[in-house]
Symmetry: C2
Subunit: 187 residues, 2 copies
Amino acid sequence: MTTLGYALLGLLAREPLSGYDLARQLKHPVGFFWPARHSQIYPELAALEAAGLVTHEVVEQPDRPDKKVYAITEQGQTVVREWVTSPMDVPSVRDELVLRTYCLWLAEPDKLRALFQEHAARHAAQLAEYEGYEHECREHAPEALHDTWSPLFAKYATLRRGISYEREYLEWCNWVLSCITAQDTDG
Amino acid sequence: MTTLGYALLGLLAREPLSGYDLARQLKHPVGFFWPARHSQIYPELAALEAAGLVTHEVVEQPDRPDKKVYAITEQGQTVVREWVTSPMDVPSVRDELVLRTYCLWLAEPDKLRALFQEHAARHAAQLAEYEGYEHECREHAPEALHDTWSPLFAKYATLRRGISYEREYLEWCNWVLSCITAQDTDG
DNA sequence: TCTCACATGTAACTAGTTACATGATTGC
DNA sequence: GCAATCATGTAACTAGTTACATGTGAGA
């Protein structure tokens, strides 16, 4: 089993979805922490079905092309439930901006400032998007936030992580900017 | 050029190193944001040399096996300097713990608590390590922190990022723990 | 003698990306 | 007629991981 396989099972444990819908969810909002393209999703679904973890039925749509709607099986539910709390190896984080920061002393000051300004803007935008989702969550289902074992709380918890991650990243970008701007005339 | 190639050039822009030394640095401290194994590093060095970005000389050591010490060329310096501020596509972040969090409603409460306790401990340990490096940095070369275009400031800047990242992650783990512990009897 | 750190490589595999490929239906 | 969204697939490539492979020298 690949991690993507578990990701798909996790989504299908909430509701039956087509490959297309799964691809959409793996862009927003799940895609913020586990993105995947359709070219990876379709073969993975076939593998999950071969393993007996999901089934599909073809749903005919009058106004749109037919689709295959996948549903999780009993066995699939067992597998995903076990996975959630199974031992995890230390994840490897790769961040190209931090790598570039390690080499920042080589760069031209003006271009460097532009780079960090761009990233600050990106993270500010992402933060705003997460905060929008969080607001929706609070408005739409405030009771879910108190039921820790509801799917909605799980979504809320990932949003909290996204928000604090982006806020922290943004603050760091601004700190770097303040450092490299203070020494404007040195470069 | 791969990102690893630039990472190696960035390290060699600071000082000449052997493949073995590069591998060590790509575990600690650079490895915290761009890990790589020796099996990837040695072929990459050969590619960089073929492209004229680095050269090597064999250094004989009386007490240890001979080694190839790589040095960056003029051309290599130009390439790495350009790269630092070149346009960057939006990086894709994959975090399996956040993915699992999205599925946390499926899990057994006790096991889930254990999972988050383990991760909280990991991030606390990583935070302590970064803070140790930062302390060293401050003690050893306090003047570097005021010279934004020194290699030491660049290192310090990545450390600041590591520290705030780990602190934020740790806080989030503890927040999740407080949520799932408050509802102890529900599961 | 055995283990550890130093030192350098190759081979096989896996996950993920990019590109290729097809086709329905709606709205401009 | 053309572009956009919905819908599903395959092929080729790239980066990264795991495993295989070899050898030196120091110290216990």
